[in-house]
Amino acid sequence: MFTAIFSLTILGATLGLALGIAGRFLAVEANANVAELEALLPGTNCGQCGFPGCSGAATALVGGAAPATCCPVGGKALAVAIAEKLGVRLDLSGVADEAPKLALVAEDLCIGCCRCIKTCPTDAILGAPKQIHNVLKEACTGCAACVAHCPTEAILLHPVPVTLPHWVMPKPSSAVSVGNCVTSFAERTAWV
């Protein structure tokens, strides 16, 4: 009895001591992931993710409170980048990879209230009080922050038209359907 307790205590203490010493030599400071993630995020602080600005989202991502797919502005590409940085597995099924969109002012509806100008995180909207506003398409990120603030629904998101240099060859629609079926196995066995 006594030998058992004594020997195991000694064993545990020795190993613990060794690990403690090793821990001191092999210490790694906690990774400063928040700053790196914040650099990845768009930085528009549009709040669509539900966190206070991009730095808030970065903290939530590191803490595991937000999924890698939380940023709708960054889309699929950003989700992949975040997942890579965090080393987590990614479920892309929920991310609709939408074509990029830009805000556009309907000139007959705009009343020149300047509310959208104040909310735009990238200063992409031009205009003055009582004058029709305009969106600089080079600066617009399509974050939709302005849309909710327009009292006349004059500002809406529109997909960017495809131009010749930006055209992408479509992926071949794989004609081979073996195993590509999305129906469940049970559904398919119903045939037999």
């Binding site: 020997s7 064993l11 613990g16 090793a22 092999l26 790694v28 080393g87 195993g179 590509n180 999305v182």
Partner: protein, 192 residues
């Protein structure tokens, strides 16, 4: 010398720890998504297995047997294994953060990798000498690493195959590894 080589071949191929003894299946299924992490896992396990084989031999012959504490064997072994794994984890975290990320939870879980405890117990059971134990453990670990690598290569192929929905994921992995076990059956009865 040749006896040692034969021991290595026998433990790595003929009596493969994963495919013939069915030990350590958890990391084989878990960390075989990519070849790189599989190689990392194989090396980590090789390190742990060899080191624990030495440590448990000493523990068994210098502490447990003289003191008649055979009934504490599993407990004591687990403590030693856990410490070695802890040390390995610290080391990998320091030396290769990328590998640390990709191994994820499976790194600390080497503690509960039944291959590690199993080999240590088998060493005791077969009353091998000190160096023989180490080589037995090393050979088994080589076999483990070999299977990890082969299987990871196979899974990289499977990941891009059009596996039917009902079989994708774990089912096809199990079928593949069973076929791999079938191939290893060819080594059974190898006269070495």
């Amino acid at each position: 010398m040749s006896a040692l080589i034969l021991l290595l071949i026998s433990t790595a191929l003929v009596n493969n720890v994963v495919l013939i003894k069915f030990l350590g299946l958890c990391p084989v299924m878990g960390v075989s998504k990519s070849l790189d992490s599989a190689i990392g896992m194989g090396m980590a396990t090789t390190f742990v297995l060899t080191l624990t084989a030495a440590a448990t031999w000493m523990l068994e012959h210098w502490l447990l047997m003289p003191l008649g504490l055979d009934y504490l064997r599993i407990l004591a072994f687990i403590v030693v294994i856990a410490s070695v794994v802890q040390f390995t984890e610290m080391f990998i975290k320091k030396a290769s953060p990328g590998l640390y990320q990709s191994l994820g939870i499976y790194l600390p879980l080497i503690t509960t990798n039944c291959a590690v405890l199993g080999i240590s117990l088998l060493n005791v059971q077969q009353s091998y000498g000190f160096f023989w134990s180490i080589f037995y453990a090393f050979g088994s670990a080589l076999g483990f690493t070999l299977v990890m690598m082969i299987f990871a290569g196979m899974r990289e192929r499977i990941a891009l195959a059009r596996v039917p929905a009902a079989f994708s994921g774990a089912p096809i992995a199990f079928i593949a590894i069973s076929l791999l076990a079938l191939a290893f059956m060819g080594f059974s009865g190898l006269n070495v």
